[in-house]
Structure formats: C-alpha cells, structure tokens
Amino acid sequence: LNSGLKNTKIKWEPIPIALGVSFLGVWQLYRVQRRERHTQIERKENEEAESLGRPKKRERIRPSGPWQVQIMSTLPLKALSRVWGRFNELTIPYYLRVPGFKLYSFIFGVNLSEVAEPDLHVFPNLASFFYRTLKPGARPLDPNPNAVLSPADGKIIQFGIIEHGEVEQVKGVTYSLDALLGSTRPKSRAPSIAGSETKSSEEHIKSGEQDAIRTDEEFANVNGISYTLPNLFSGPESKGGLPTEMPTDQSTAPAPSSEAEVRADLALSDASRPWWAPASTKTPSALYYCVIYLAPGDYHRFHSPVSWVVESRRHFAGELYSVSPYLQRTLPGLFTLNERVVLLGRWRWGFFSYTPVGATNVGSIKINFDRELRTNSLNTDTAADRAAEEAAARGEPYSGFAEATYEGASQVLGGYSLKRGEEMGGFQLG
C-alpha cells in the first residue's frame, strides 16, 4: 500500500460536464415521459371506472416545493423506510455492538450515562438501541402541577396560538387544523360538547350552575351521578393514584364572563363552529400549538404532557417525508402530508390533541395502549386504498384516516386516561 501510494502517478482531469449534463437531461426526459404515460393510464382507468360506476383509484399526493422536494416526491419513501427498518433489525455481531453504538452516540450526541441498560452488548441491533429506555429519575417532571410538560426530548420548532384554525409552519406559510387533525368531529362515546345527550348550555345558564358551560369537564353520567374530571383525578378512589394537578388556588382562575358575553357567544350556531373550536364560554380559552422535533440521537419514546383522557385516534396513512428542520421550512403542509397518528381527547381545560408524525427513517409509531395500530405497513396502505374506494362507492369524500375510539380501563371517563409524564409510546426505526 505504501509503495502503491508513493509510486502511483496522480493525473488530474476535468469532469466531462457536457456528458454529465446530457446524461441528466436524457434521464429527466425519460422521467417526464414516464410520468406522463402513467398519468394518461391513470386518467384512462379513472374514466373507465367512472363510466362503469366503479370507484376511482386513490390519488398519490404530489406536493409543491423546490426541486429537492420534487425529487423526494418521486422516491418510494415508505418502501425505503420499511427496508431501512428491516436493515436495522439485523443482529450486529457481539463484539461490534459496543464500538458501533458508541460511534453512533458520538455522532448523534447520545448521553450513554442516562441509558437504563448499562451493558450495550444487550442491544442486539440499532433498532433496539434506538428505542432504549432511560434510568428512573433521568427525566424529572416539573413540580408545578399547572405545567404542560414536554412530551419528548427534542427541539422546539414552532409554538404559538392558533388563529382562524390555521397553524403557522413557517413565517407566512400555514396549514389548516382540519388538514392536520381531520375535518370531521371524532366518533366518541362520551357526550359531545354540543350534543343533544347533554344539558344544553342555555339550560345550564338558566339553572345557574357554576362552571356549567364547561360540559367538557363532565365526563360521564352513570346512574345519574356526574363525575367531573378534577374530582376524578384528585378523588381518593382514582385508580393508580393520578396526581392532583388541577389548580386548586381559585385566585389564579380567570374571572367569570358576564352572562351577556356568554349569550353572545352562544349565538354562534354549533354547526358554524369547527369541531375543534374552543367550546368554553365561561372561561375564555384559545387553542395553542407546539411542534417538537426529535433528532436521531434523542430518546425516542414519548410521554403524556398533562393528565388527560384519550377518546379516539385517527391514523392518517400518508407519505413519509423527512421532517428535518430544513424540510419543515421548505415543504408547505409537511405535517399534513406525512403518516401520523392523531390522538384526540380532553383535559382540564377542554380539547387536547397529540400527534406523533412519522418520518422516512422513523416511520413506525407505537402507541402503548393501542395494540391494533399498525403504522408504515403495506396492509395499512391497502386498507387506506380500500377505504377510499368504499367512500367513493358511497358517494362520499374520503376522510383520509382510519378512526378508532378507546374504551379504556375507566368506563366513567369514556376513554383511556393518562397521567402527566406517563409513557405513551414511541417512534421506531423504519
């Protein structure tokens, strides 16, 4: 090798640019023609299906954006993600594990002293190391019971208040909450805020009940007994000792609005409100949002930020674009395109949603209390295609998601209850 390096004559030559450019040109021409041909075939198939009264095929999402996004949209991202997952499940030879994981930790900034398992040999592959647990007490919870906790280790990308139902992705670029969470009200066993099963807001005002308009705090009515969420969480009978995190200091509570204000608010018909709109009229409230990005070296399990009840989940089998901060800046509506699991429920102050969004390298989202959920799976894609066809056959637009409601251990809450800081699930490789 030494003599080879010393004696070999190095000759520098310019790269044949013309050849490279012409090759790229021919490739691009081939690609455009191929896409055109596919579009024609799809159009023909759809026309035939329409004439025969059969449902049309589900159309693939083609996002707009710079050339990097256009190139990415041509790649089979979900298939790549699955191959990546399989690759990372290959067993690493025993003696390569420690140096391999240490190198990974060095590159991506993993703090190995926090890992629950001190012996890295125990992890058979990168997938299991990636989904590692931490030592007890490594992540202490904020002592303030009124705090909304960080659900994961990561970087704050955006946060703020939602105005006119739009979430700001980057300055001037927004996406709608309907696109992120779904445009229809979730199917829930619990009485809906504006539902006919509960006492109407007007009736509550007339009866003069305190905080009665917050029907979202009334979770169930079993044998004529209504339970409120604060009572359930702080009561001695609460299962698992859920913490009392509801504010008890009444001086910090907002002053009640006047009846005129309440009535004016009620004048808005329920039909005209989006399903996720703040329902409270007693306590003025708003919708807040926060986006947290998990880097490859971060701990990839996620936890509950508050004590809340998950009533339903929506699985959007979308694409799996990278969610790196660069792509978040360049691809509009990225979170509405990617595969995601929207968990919908309620907390002390009303509506609460929690959406883990998958990415190319981490396409599998796991929810601990949802054994039926399968993300980044070929079956899911087929099921989504079937659902789209069935919706078309019924003459309805396809909602874009598969929905399930949670029964949970607590029948009273009408969902699955989570306490603050509780592990909910995580992201797995591929």
Partner: protein, 48 residues
C-alpha cells in the same frame, strides 16, 4: 420524527384597573419556551 400538540387553554382576562397592571394576565396560559430551544421530557413547555 415530530410531535405536534394542539390544546385548548385559558386565554386569560385582563385585570380590572383597581387590580393594577399584572405581567401575567389572570389565568392565561403562558409559554415557557423559545424557538429552537432544546427540551427534555418533563420540562415545562408552559403554565396555566
């Protein structure tokens, strides 16, 4: 991977004149984070 939280929280009411100026409006949800900030599980994103 990314997590998007969307939640309802009190907007707060402006204190009356006799209560004087308060930095934090009564009952308002207040963020405790900044753009690009690194957070860990259990740290407070905000307070009601």
């Amino acid at each position: 991977s990314t997590i998007v939280l969307v939640f309802e929280a009190p907007k707060g009411v402006r204190p009356t004149l006799d209560e004087g100026y308060q930095e934090k409006r009564k009952g308002e949800f207040k963020w405790n984070i900044k753009d690009g900030m690194k957070v860990k599980v259990g740290e407070a994103l905000g307070f009601v």
